[in-house]
């Protein structure tokens, strides 16, 4: 029962994270790989503040503000570089933040991580945490569905094909991107807090390459502006490797087998979808 609840929690957490990624990366065609930075900074902010006796909800709010500032920073970089360079910058930022976390021992406890992160009153047990997570997931998915129905959702789809033509219609594409990035920051901060309250421990490896590949695989698989496709992709990518647990594989292999599956899946998806995927054009 506990295994079932915990995987369900992890599933909804992943689903929440993938929602803004589906919007920005898959539907909008902006190859933003800096999202683990948002997750890392948000997680460490919550963990450090909670360990300093801040109220968990206040800590989460401060983390949201900090992550929004990071999102705005990435937005300004997006305005100044090409889509390809933006992807590289995102990846470099992730590695830089990871190195900073490991080396800033006094603040982050370095490689040992931060244990014993307290849960807030509203989510002090796994069932109540699951309830909050599902509720938030529903809010995020409804919001995403609504977004796809609006003129901004249509404009984002059009931007993936031809940014210049969108501007010629009198639409400011940058405003839409900024809005999505800020929303992404809020969603990531909230879901990161939910994750911390579940595991009550934060390791410096959190939101690393494994996390990036998992979320990116799901987001790219859900390459059409459909919330149902996101849910199906998350079920597929999240639960298929979960089945490996029931095979008698040595634990040393089992740990890496997920990453191998996700990476192979990502390669297959990019080969098959990339012409549709990274088509954002700035040419006239």
């Amino acid at each position: 029962m506990s295994y079932f609840l915990v995987t369900l929690l992890a599933f909804f957490n992943t689903l929440i994270n993938c929602s803004p990624l589906q919007v920005l990366v898959s539907v909008g065609g902006i190859f933003f790989l800096g999202f683990p930075v948002m997750a890392k900074v948000s997680a460490y902010t919550v963990a450090i503040l909670e360990k300093s006796d801040f109220n968990p909800l206040v800590a989460m709010l401060i983390a949201i503000l900090l992550t929004i500032i990071i999102a705005i920073g990435f937005y300004y970089l997006y305005l100044r570089v090409s889509n390809d360079s933006f992807a590289v910058i995102g990846l470099a930022a992730m590695l830089a933040v990871e190195a900073l976390i490991i080396s800033w021992d006094d603040l982050t406890n370095g490689l040992l991580g931060i244990p014993g992160i307290p849960r807030p009153e509203i989510a002090n047990s796994i069932p109540s945490l699951l309830f909050v997570t599902i509720l938030f997931a529903l809010i995020v998915l409804v919001f995403e569905w609504l977004f796809f129905q609006t003129k901004y959702g249509r404009a984002l789809r059009a931007m993936k094909e031809n940014n210049i033509s969108v501007e010629a219609l009198g639409i400011n594409p940058n405003k839409i991107i900024l809005g999505i990035m800020i929303t992404m920051a809020v969603v990531f901060s909230f879901s990161t807090s939910l994750y911390l309250w579940r595991v009550q421990f934060l390791a410096p490896s959190f939101a690393g390459l494994h996390y990036l590949i998992l979320l990116l695989t799901i987001a790219i698989m859900a390459h059409r502006p459909k919330v149902t496709l996101l849910i199906l992709s998350t079920v597929f990518v999240f639960y298929i490797p979960e089945l490996l647990r029931f095979f008698p594989l040595p634990s040393a292999i089992l740990g890496y087998s997920r990453l191998v599956i996700y990476s192979l899946l990502l390669i297959v998806l990019l080969i098959n979808l990339s012409p549709k995927f990274i088509t954002s054009s700035r040419k006239i």
């Binding site: 003129k151 501007e167 010629a168 219609l169 009198g170």
Partner: protein, 247 residues
């Protein structure tokens, strides 16, 4: 309507447009011609704001729009179509037009949930598509349309969002000859609708001369000849531009 004063455009150290001054009157159709690389599309890009002019100024309806971004100029009323049709091919024909309507009319974000507004937009889309015999393709993905149909769709979008000045770049590129008459009628109707001004860049001189009130010939980024279509046709310098001089 549009006044260009001493416009210079450069890419790095290469100057593409030299000291271009131009006046476009309300309701006027002006054709821009010239050999490849003479700066025709660059001129449209400079007017629509997709590239910045290194010096000179642009006045639109007596407002200085020199520092305006491309989307800001579009909002002010400068519409633009592109050499390679700027239609969104992965979206349906209906969605292509919807995008123009909802932004032009400043519909609220929730408008798709209002039956009244949905019907109103749907009627508008059906009327526009009927005019160019594309109603049967309303729900089709735009990518399945032929080159000519894509042009018609782009011009319909321009009709919706275009504003008072339309910049049309090579409308006949990739269009079968049988569709050119339909394109010409649509371009004329764009002008007659709201007394819009139009600047067309075009290589098909016969097509262009049948539409425009005035022709400007650009050579090496400079205004070389200017006049009405009849006088330009007779001007020997035009033949020199296209066929060179007898040596």
């Amino acid at each position: 309507m549009l006044k260009l004063e001493n416009i210079h455009v450069s890419y790095g150290k290469t100057t593409i447009l030299h000291d271009i001054s131009l006046d476009i009157l309300p309701g006027e159709i002006v054709g821009i011609i010239g050999p490849n690389g003479c700066g025709k599309t660059t001129l449209l890009n400079a007017v629509s704001g997709f590239i910045k002019n290194s010096s000179g100024s642009l006045l639109f309806n007596e407002n200085d729009i020199t520092g305006f971004s491309a989307h800001h100029r579009a909002v002010e009323g400068i519409g633009r179509s592109f050499q390679q049709a700027g239609v969104f091919k992965e979206m349906t024909v209906e969605e292509n037009l919807m995008l123009a309507i909802e932004h032009k009319e400043k519909y609220p974000w929730w408008w798709r949930f209002s039956r009244k507004m949905r019907n109103q937009a749907d009627r508008q889309i059906c009327d526009l598509l009927s005019d160019v015999n594309l109603l049967g393709h309303k729900k089709s993905v735009a990518g399945v349309l032929s080159g000519g149909q894509l042009r018609l769709l782009e011009l319909l979008r321009l009709r919706i969002s275009g504003g008072k000045l339309l910049l049309i770049d090579e409308p006949t590129a990739g269009v079968a000859p049988v569709m050119r008459q339909e394109l010409a009628s649509l371009i004329k109707s764009l002008m007659e609708d709201e007394s819009r001004s139009i600047i067309i860049v075009e290589h098909d001189l016969k097509f262009l001369f049948s539409l425009v009130d005035r022709v400007i010939v650009l050579v090496d980024g400079e205004k070389y000849i200017e006049g009405d279509p009849e006088s330009i046709k007779k001007d020997k310098r035009l033949q020199e531009v296209y066929f060179g001089t007898e040596s």
